[in-house]
Symmetry: C2
Subunit: 644 residues, 2 copies
Amino acid sequence: MTDCPHPTPLSKVDITCSFWTGRLEAVRVGALPFIYDQLKRTGRWDCLKLQWKPGDPNKPHRFWDSDMAKWLEAACHSLRVQPDPFLASLVEEAVDMIRGAQQEDGYINSYYTVVEPGRCWTNIAWSHEMYCAGHLLEAALAHHSYTQSTHLLTPVLRYVSHIGSVFGPDEGQNPGYPGHQCLELALLRAYEETDGNEMLLDLATFFIEERGQVHPHGDHYYDIEAKRRNEDPFVGPMRKGGRRFEYFQADLPVREVAIQEDGIQGHSVRAMYWLTAVAHLARLSKDESLHIAAKRLWTSVMERKMYITGGLGAIGEWEGFGPDYYLPNESGYLETCASIGLVFFAHQMLLLEPLESKYAQVLERALYNGVLVGMGLDGRSWFYDNPLAVVEEGLKRSEWFEVACCPPNVARLLTSLEKYIYTFSPDGDTLYVNMYLSSSATITLSCGSVLRITQKSKGPWFGGTSLLIEGAPGEVGKLKVVLRKPEGVRRFDIAIDDTPVMQEQSEYTQVLTCSSFCDVSASRVTVSVQFEYQPRTIHPHPLDLANFRHISLARGPFIYCAESIDNPHIPDLRAIRVDEGSPWEEVVDKESFKRWGVEYVKLRTTVWLECGEEDRRKVELTLIPILLWANRGLSTMRVWLPLA
Amino acid sequence: MTDCPHPTPLSKVDITCSFWTGRLEAVRVGALPFIYDQLKRTGRWDCLKLQWKPGDPNKPHRFWDSDMAKWLEAACHSLRVQPDPFLASLVEEAVDMIRGAQQEDGYINSYYTVVEPGRCWTNIAWSHEMYCAGHLLEAALAHHSYTQSTHLLTPVLRYVSHIGSVFGPDEGQNPGYPGHQCLELALLRAYEETDGNEMLLDLATFFIEERGQVHPHGDHYYDIEAKRRNEDPFVGPMRKGGRRFEYFQADLPVREVAIQEDGIQGHSVRAMYWLTAVAHLARLSKDESLHIAAKRLWTSVMERKMYITGGLGAIGEWEGFGPDYYLPNESGYLETCASIGLVFFAHQMLLLEPLESKYAQVLERALYNGVLVGMGLDGRSWFYDNPLAVVEEGLKRSEWFEVACCPPNVARLLTSLEKYIYTFSPDGDTLYVNMYLSSSATITLSCGSVLRITQKSKGPWFGGTSLLIEGAPGEVGKLKVVLRKPEGVRRFDIAIDDTPVMQEQSEYTQVLTCSSFCDVSASRVTVSVQFEYQPRTIHPHPLDLANFRHISLARGPFIYCAESIDNPHIPDLRAIRVDEGSPWEEVVDKESFKRWGVEYVKLRTTVWLECGEEDRRKVELTLIPILLWANRGLSTMRVWLPLA
C-alpha cells in the first residue's frame, strides 16, 4: 500500500481557464440565484424555520434539508473565490436557520421535527436523516473554509456528536448506518479538514465496517428497525434474483461485496458516495484489505458498468447498475449525481495511488461529460438522467425536480473544481498535475516553503501547458513535479526553461516524472509540456451489444455526440453509417454557442445514410461534445455511431 | 372496400393437432383450476358476493371483475369442447354471483359497489368500469355459446343497456368512453353473435367516434369528469413531448391519430383492443375512412413498432409504444396481453381483407411467439412482459400478478383458437385456410349446405396439409378454397385428389386460389398442399439499432432464441458471433420438453465466441422456439444474434 498523500497543501487557487470561468460564472450568476429561487418557491428554504403545520402547503420532505445544504456548500465555495453581497446575506440567513432548527439534543432535521416528530431514527434505511446530516456537515466545512468562523461548524459537529451517541457498537447504541450513504464521506472529510477529531473517524469507520453485517444474535439492521416499527422493511427496487438490501449496498459487508462475481450493484449514487468513503478510509487507516476492496469495486465500475461519459446506472427502475456490460443508450439512466459521485471516488482513488493516471482519466471523463451535461449552459436548466441517445425530439432540460438532488450537487462540485487539478505526495513535496487548465495556486511544502504555481494551458480544447513555479531563491528546487500524460495523445514533450528533457515514459501509468530539474538558487522555473489532442475512436467491449459494431468519438477529455440541430439534412440520426477509418476534421466553432461564451472544437466527417427505402448516399456529419447538447432547442442525439 | 365476410359459419371444431392439444390441455388441467385458485386466494372470486367491508383483507380493486370474467370466458370455451363437472360447477357459481351482484339499475361492478359506492361513472378514464363490463359481456357470450342459455347474457345485456343510458350523444347523457378500451370490442362481437341488436352497434360506434373528440363548447371528456371531481385528470405516463391522453389513444379522434407521423402511441393493450374494434366497426359499417384509419395504424404497428415475435411495447413506463424502430431487447416490455390484442386486431383486419396474408402471418407470429411465451408449459406460470433478451439469470415465471390480466387472457385466447384457423368470404362460400393444423370442423354454406372439413397437417413444425372436404353428393363443389402460402416456404404444391393443380401465384398476397376443382356429384374431395419450412434469417430494419448487425432465426411461424440451458459451454450468450451464411441444422428434439409432451424442431449451427480476453474460437449453438424458454430453470436468453 502506498503512503497516503495529504490532500490539501493547496491554497489561493485562481482558475483562469476561459472554459471553466464560463462554467463557474454560469453557476455564480445562473445556478446559485436560480436554485435559491427554487428552494424558496418550493418551501425547501423556509422549512428550516420549523413553522410548517399539517394542512399547510409545501409539506417538507425527508431529503429537503440536503437540497438546501448542497446549495449552501456551493454558495460558500463560490464566495470564497468571488465576493457577492446578496449571496453572502443568503448564506447568513441559511446558517441562522440551521442554528435555529437545532433541537436541545443537537438534532437537526426539518422533516422529522415538524412532519413526523417523535419518529426520528426509526427508519434510517429510508429516512435520509444521515444523508441530510452528511450534506449539512459538508456545508459547514465549506462555510468554515469561506468565513473561518465556526458559527455553522460548531452546531453541526454537535449534531454529529448526537448521531454518534445514538449509533455505534456499544451497549445502548443502535448498530445502524446510513440508508443513503453520504455522512461517511463527510465525516472523513471533516476529520481531515478539522485536524483529527477522532470521533469523526470512529463514527465513519463504524458506519463503513457495520454496513451489510448480520449479527449472530439478530438480523440485518434494516430488519431490526422495521420490526420495531411493526413493518416489513422496504428493500428497494431490485434486479430479478438480486440480494436483499443490495439497492443500498447493504447486502453484504464491503469486503464481501468486493469479491462478488457480479460486482457493484444497486443505486449508483449511493454506491459512489459509499466507495468514496471506503477509499478515503483505506487511505486514512492504511487498511490494505479495504484498499483492495475499493480497487476491486473500482474495476467493477470502470471496466464493466461505466458508460464512456463516466455516466453510471443502466437501469432507471432503481437508478442504478445493470448487468455487466449492459449499457443501453436510450433507456440508460446515468444520473448526474452518480457521475458527481464518480468524480469523488476517482479523486479518493487517485489520492491512494497518485501515479495511476486511470483515476485521473475517469475523473476527467465524468467531470467534462457525465457531470457537465447535467447543467444547461445557462446554469438554469438541468438533466437528472443523461441517456446517450435520444430518438425523438421532446426531451427538455428541466428547471427543477421533485427530487432535486442534481442541480445543487452540480453547483457544489463545480465550485470546488480546484481540488481536482493537483494532488500531492504524503510529504506534500511532489505535485501531481492531473488537469491541464490555466490557473494559479499557492502550495506549501513540508518544510514550510511556499511556492506559487501558475499554469498556462490551452486546455481543455487543446493540449499542452506551461507551469511557472516561483518561490524564494533556492525553494523552487524542493518541488518534484509529475505530469500526467492524458489518454490518446501522441507526443508528450517536456521542457524545463525551454530546454527539452529526456523522459522515462511508462505505458502503464501514462505519467512522466521530472524532478531535480533546476539549480539550487533559482527562484523561478518553467516546466512546459507539449502534446496534442486529436480525434480518437472508442470501441465498445465485445459484450456491450447495445453498441455492437458502433464507435464513438473522443478528443481530449471530451466525448462527442451527433445532435440533430447540427445535422438538419439527416432525417434520422439512426440512419448514419460511419466508415471505420473516416478522417475527422477538427473545426474551432466560435459561433454556435456564442450566446453562452463557449468556443469549442467540433468534429466533422462524411458518413453514409442508410434509410432502408432510398439509396445509400454520403452526407456530412458534425459532432459536438456531449456537454453542449440540448441547449439550442428540441433535438435528437446519439453518442455511439453505427459503422458502415 | 371489400365486402364483409361473415366471421362464423363454423361449428363443431375439433382440434387434433398434437402441439395444440398439449397447449389446450395445459390450459384445461393447468391454467383454469390454477387461476381459479388464485382468484379465490386473492379475493377476486368472492368480491362479487359484495360482502367486503372496510378493514377486511383482500380489498377489491377496480379491475378485479375483469380477471374473473376472463377466467369465466375461458372456462366456457373449454367446456364447450370438453366437459368437466367441477369446472362446470364453478362456472355456475360465478354466473350466480354476477347475477347476484347486479344492482337495480343494472349496474355490475364489485369495486364501485362495495369500496367506492356512489362514485360509479365519475372517473371512466381510470375506473376500468367499462373494461370490466366488456369482459363481462365477452364472458356472457361465451357462456351463451357453451350453454345456449341466456342466464348470464340477459343480465349483462341489461347492464350494457344501463351503460347506454348513461353514456351517449344525447342531452342528459355523458359523452364519455372507456379509459381502457375493451367494451367497444365486446359490443361489436355481441352485435354479430346475437344477430343484430342495434343498441350494441350504436353504443360501440359512439365510443369509437367520440374517443379523442374535444367539443367546441367544452373540454376533453376526461377533463370534464375530472373537473366534476375537483381534480386534475391524470393523463397517464407519457413520452417526453407526447400529446395529452395519448396513453389512452384519446388524444385525437381515430382518423386523426391515423394520420399522425409518429403513428400509434400510448398503452399497447389499450391500443390493440381499440384497433380491433375500429377494424370490426369498419367492416360492419362499411365505413371506408375508418377502414383506411385501421390500415394506416396497422402499418404503423407492424412496420415500425412490432417486435419480430409479435410483441408490442418498447417502454415499460407506460406499458406501451416507443419511437418508431426503437425495439430494445432487454428492456422491452412486450406485454403478453398486447400480443393477444394483436391477434384480435390481425383477425379483424383479415376479415376485412381476407386475401392479405400479412394479417394471418402476424396473427400466427403473435400467437405462436408473443402469446405462447407468456404461459409456462405447465399452464401454471406466467410472464407478464416478454423481453427478447435476458442477460442475467434471475427472471422467473410468476404464479400470479397484482395486475393479473395476462393469465386468464392467455387462457381465453387459447381456448378460442378455433376462430383463427379459417376465415370466410361474406357469402360464406369461400374458405380461407389461415392456419395449417390438424382439426375438423363443420361449415354451413350460404345455401344451407353443410360440409365437414378434416385437416390433416404436419403443422406447426412441418409444412403441408391435406383437407378432406365431405358433404352430401354435389355439395362439395360449392365450396371455394383459398390456401395461404406461409412466409418463407419454398415450394407450395397443391393437388386435388392426388392430381397436381396448376396454380397462379401472387407474390403480393402469398395466397393461392383453387376452386371449381371437382365434379358436380362428388361427396368428398381432398385438397392437399405440400410445402416445407426451413430455417430462415430475419434482418432488422436499418433504423433498428438495438439489433444492428444482428440476425434472428425463424422457422415456420416460430421465432427462435438461444437459451443458456441448451448452451452450457457458452459462458455468456452475448459473446457469440454468427456467420451470416451459416447453415442451420434442423433437429427433432423429443427429449428436452418431454415432461410437458412437447416435441419440436431445434436449430443448430457453429458460431464464433468472442469474449474479448480469450481468442476467438468456434462452438456449437442451439436455438429453440422462444415459446419454450424459461421452463427448465433459471437461464439467460437472446433472440437476436450478433453477426461475425
